[in-house]
């Protein structure tokens, strides 16, 4: 494609038009800029693996002060909101109705058993909320051990108890650190694949392409002018996420920022390419949306190691993930954020991403033609 004065002017006109549409159709901006911010807030704060205010039924079958003291940890704790009930049966009903997520039962003769060293506390958890249950269990265990430590003088238990609780209180931070690179990836995937495929499909669907085709515009100019605004939107969304990650979660930046932005742009080009290919194939907004969801968004979330660590996945999924550009991009991002400039990985993954970019952009140009079917 030759870039001459006319060509630049035509591309300018189309880009300007695209920006007008972008500014007037808030949904695109919403998707490109507001959505990432919401994601970063939800995932950073809401999706941390911390559990707070677990409604807990407490059944005190032993009315002694010792028993009371034992469950005292639930009072004024940020992690539990206790409900005192008289019988085990009531507690079970509450659990079944999802009014509580855990039951702590202090059996009769608890105080006497403590003195003999054979005391038991029953803990029942709602396994349908697996994450909550697991966290609550560990909190309770830790609390009981702490109480025990205060009661007796066995130093071994005391040490164990404090160790367990320290892991937990750190967790909120690490999960945010772990999520931010993933959110950056999501932002680039949504802006790239979704927005591009939908806005291109819209032009096919509304018949605007048919009119544009029969003008001196070249197909390459059309594609470039079409994706440029969305490239800008995505880069803007990415920068917002970087700032938010830094300000809100003190995300470390151990590698080079320039390198990070560089590989992100490369990944963005891949996403745009995939979006273009999808729109050329479907030419229909609804279908484009569905296909984008199926082949880019969901695999990016589920199979790339964003939510689930790839090492703990079945072999089949590990193999599939090797064919997703997202996997390589995410590895790069995590390394650059949390580990630093580890060159062998950067070069290897960078080259793989470049290959994907050439493949998809090439396909996009090949498949988008000035033709009506």
């Amino acid at each position: 494609m030759k870039l001459n004065r006319h060509s630049l002017r035509r591309m300018g006109a189309l880009t300007r038009k695209e920006f007008f549409q972008l500014m007037r159709d808030q949904s695109s901006l919403l998707m490109g800029i507001v959505l990432p911010l919401i994601l970063i807030l939800i995932m950073g704060y809401g999706m941390s693996l911390d559990v707070k205010n677990v409604p807990t039924a407490i059944v005190l079958e032993d009315p002694s002060p010792t028993a009371r003291q034992m469950v005292n940890f639930t009072e004024g704790s940020a992690y539990f909101s206790p409900v005192y009930v008289r019988s085990m049966r009531t507690a079970e009903t509450l659990l079944a109705q999802h009014d509580v997520d855990a039951i702590i039962r202090v059996p009769q003769n608890f105080a006497a058993d403590v003195n003999q060293g054979t005391a038991k506390v029953q803990v029942i958890l709602n396994g349908t909320e697996a994450t909550t249950a697991m966290s609550a269990q560990r909190y309770i265990e830790a609390a009981v051990l702490t109480w025990e430590a205060g009661l007796s003088v066995r130093s071994a238990s005391a040490g164990q108890a404090t160790t367990v609780s320290r892991i937990w209180f750190n967790d909120a931070n690490t999960s945010a650190w772990f999520f931010v690179p993933g959110i950056l990836m999501l932002v680039l995937t949504t802006s790239g694949v979704f927005l591009t495929s939908v806005v291109m499909a819209r032009e096919w669907e509304r018949g605007t392409f048919e009119s544009l085709f029969v003008t001196p515009i070249k197909i390459g100019e059309l594609i470039l002018a079409k994706v440029l605004p969305y490239f800008v939107v995505a880069v803007f969304g990415m920068i917002l996420c970087l700032i938010a990650g830094n300000v809100l979660y003190d995300l470390p930046m151990r590698g080079s920022l320039i390198l990070l932005i560089g590989v992100s742009m490369l990944y963005l080009i891949i996403s745009l390419g995939i979006g273009l290919v999808i729109s050329a194939l479907t030419k229909n907004q609804f279908l484009a949306c569905q296909v984008s969801l199926m082949i880019s968004f969901l695999p990016s979330v589920m199979l790339s190691g964003f939510l689930f660590d790839l090492h703990s996945q079945p072999l089949a999924i590990q193999i599939i993930s090797q064919f997703l550009p997202t996997t390589y991009y995410l590895q790069l991002m995590k390394t650059l954020f949390l580990a630093g400039n580890y060159w062998p990985l950067i070069i290897r993954n960078g080259l793989i991403l470049l290959g994907f970019a050439i493949l998809f952009i090439g396909l996009a140009f090949r498949m988008t033609r000035k033709e009506m079917e």
């Binding site: 006319h6 002017r9 035509r10 300018g12 006109a13 189309l14 300007r16 038009k17 007008f20 549409q21 007037r24 159709d25 032009e203 509304r206 018949g207 605007t208 392409f209 048919e210 009119s211 544009l212 085709f213 029969v214 003008t215 001196p216 515009i217 070249k218 000035k370 033709e371 009506m372 079917e373």
Partner: protein
């Protein structure tokens, strides 16, 4: 210099839709369009007009034949051709979220128009299209007619070597249509523009220097309008329907006569084309009614050509039996639908304002008006799909605001796009719809047999619905709507996208149904179909402009014998004079 701007020879194009038999969209088509004049391409929907247009601008490749446009081989140099011509597709690609000015600027930039040229050109185009006061308005907020004019303006930001217009006036009101053609004729005169325009309106084609007739992918005839009219020479007559006989029934009976090629109600009379100049239809002989010879029009020639080309012989629609009550004046019948002071608003937009009317049993009642006039909203309120904001509405004696479900049991509804299940067969579709209406198995079987016979669907019982041609689909959806013997039948734009022959048949069915006492409410944007209606209601911008018998309206406007397009234009112009905003 070349005198031909388009030279097409032996063009063929076949489509291969998935799971369906191949469609020969064009077969051995030849066409020559001369420089500096208007050439028309006419044909019913599905004739291949759009495919031909797309081939001309290089958006598709022909399977066979040679195609030269502005002296260039399109297959070899599509971009070079696209640089020279301007094309306005049927669905012109206006950007609805850009303003009028921004749309124009975009196309001017794409064509590389300099600022100096632009100023003069824009002023002229805006003045011509009457869009000058609306440059800041979003294109999506324009009326249908104005959108088409803006589309035309965008394609004309420069004076092209060839202008291609694909059905520029489809679905546009008659007044806007007339204005669009005035613009076209002016451009051809002033700029010696070469234009190829496709249209389904014959009166538009008669304004062109050359006319090509395309049907089912083949070129049936070509020539000047005068030349083509000669096909119908001596065979066109006009019959005045006596007061005791409704126009619709006379037309329907004439159409059944073997010596009649075509019959259509126009201007309060029936226009007949006979097979030979001397032939006299039986019904005229029987009653001693006269047929007066009239001058042939392009439409007459077109109908003759379509009949000659019709693949299957005309299927006879069952005639009216003696027991059918031939209602001459439905106004003497009881009221089936009553609307008083009906209003519907969407937010602060008034879609229908203070409308009152009554529809009588066995009446054919037409809702007419351009897109956006409020006819669909009115229609939806009548069949209980949309609650009225205020006002009284009763259908078949049931107050629609209180008992919508009960009212629905009395009505049949044919939706605009024929809501059929494409993958079910004709029989399965009918079974399904009958089940919905709650017919028992025995009733259902009996009714299915009856409606399939009535609508000539028996042979196609095992055909999958999506593989049926448009006319069949329309009959099937009518049959489905009539399974539960409704008192009132609602039809929303039932004739759009159907070829003229199928339209004639459709109106024969309607005539018969109404003679049997079914009340019919129909919307249409074909103004000439108003002639079939007992009474029509024309709306514009939500307001009722006129209500009455076609003859009555003509009389009121002092336009005796005028066709419905002229009537519509007169009504809208009158409304404008009264100080309404007009269209």
């Amino acid at each position: 210099m070349r005198t031909a701007v388009i030279e097409a020879a032996g063009i063929s194009k076949t489509f291969y839709p998935k799971k369906l038999p191949p469609v020969a969209a064009l077969q051995d088509v030849n066409l020559i369009a001369r420089t500096g004049q208007l050439t028309a391409l006419i044909g019913p929907d599905g004739a291949g007009k759009t495919t031909f247009m797309r081939l001309l601008c290089g958006l598709m490749k022909a399977d066979a034949g040679t195609l030269h446009v502005v002296g260039l081989d399109v297959a070899e140099r599509p971009q070079a051709v696209q640089d020279e011509l301007s094309y306005m597709p049927q669905k012109f690609g206006l950007y609805e979220d850009l303003t009028v000015q921004e749309n124009l600027d975009l196309y001017a930039d794409l064509h590389g128009i300099t600022a100096a040229q632009r100023q003069e050109r824009f002023a002229r185009l805006l003045e011509m299209t009457g869009l000058t006061p609306f440059t800041g308005r979003l294109a999506g907020k324009l009326s249908g007619g104005m959108k088409q004019k803006l589309g035309l303006a965008c394609t004309l930001v420069r004076s092209p070597k060839l202008l291609l217009l694909d059905e520029p006036t489809a679905g546009v009101d008659p007044l806007s249509r007339r204005e669009l053609w005035e613009i076209l004729q002016r451009l051809v005169q002033e700029e010696h523009l070469s234009v190829l325009v496709s249209t389904a309106y014959m009166e538009e084609a008669s304004l062109c220097q050359d006319v090509y007739v395309l049907n089912r992918g083949r070129m049936l005839a070509a020539g000047t309008p005068e030349h083509l009219c000669r096909l119908a020479e001596g065979r066109c007559f006009s019959v005045l329907s006596p007061a005791s006989f409704s126009l619709r029934i006379l037309q329907s009976e004439l159409l059944r006569d073997p010596c009649v090629t075509d019959a259509v109600p126009v201007g309060g009379r029936v226009r007949v084309i006979t097979t030979t100049p001397a032939a006299v239809p039986a019904i005229l002989k029987e009653h001693g009614w006269k047929k007066e010879p009239v001058a042939p029009r392009l439409e007459d020639a077109f109908m003759i050509l379509l009949h000659q080309d019709a693949a299957q012989e005309r299927q006879a629609v069952p005639g009216l039996s003696r027991t059918d009550g031939l209602i001459v004046d439905p106004l003497t019948q009881p009221v089936d639908i009553e609307a008083r002071d009906l209003v519907r608003t969407f937010g602060d937009f008034v879609a229908v304002r203070h409308t009152s009317f009554q529809v009588h049993r066995g009446e054919v009642f037409g809702l007419l008006g351009p897109n956006g006039a409020g006819k669909t909203t009115t229609f939806r309120m009548l069949c209980g799909l949309l609650p009225a904001t205020s006002g009284y509405l009763s259908v078949a004696g049931v107050n629609l605001r209180k008992a919508r479900t009960q009212a629905r049991a009395n009505i049949g509804y044919v939706a605009q796009k024929f809501s059929l299940y494409g993958s079910l067969t004709v029989y399965e579709n009918l079974r399904f719809f009958g089940g919905i209406y709650g017919l028992t198995r025995r009733q259902l079987e009996r009714r299915i047999t009856a409606v399939m016979e009535e609508f000539q669907l028996t042979e196609k019982a095992d055909y999958v619905a999506e593989r049926l041609p448009g006319g069949y689909k329309q009959r099937l959806s009518m049959a489905a709507a009539l399974l539960h013997k409704p008192k009132i039948l609602f039809l929303d734009e039932p004739t759009s996208g159907i070829d003229p022959l199928a339209r004639r048949q459709f109106w024969q069915q309607i005539t018969r149904l109404s003679a049997q006492g079914t009340t019919i409410i129909i919307t249409t944007h074909f103004m000439d179909e108003a002639e079939y209606c007992d009474r029509i209601m024309i709306q514009d911008k939500g307001a009722l402009l006129v209500l009455g018998r076609p003859d009555e309206i003509r009389e009121k406007l002092h336009l005796p014998g005028a066709d419905m397009n002229a009537v519509f234009i007169a009504i809208v112009e009158q409304a404008r004079q009264k100080g309404n905003e007009g269209i």
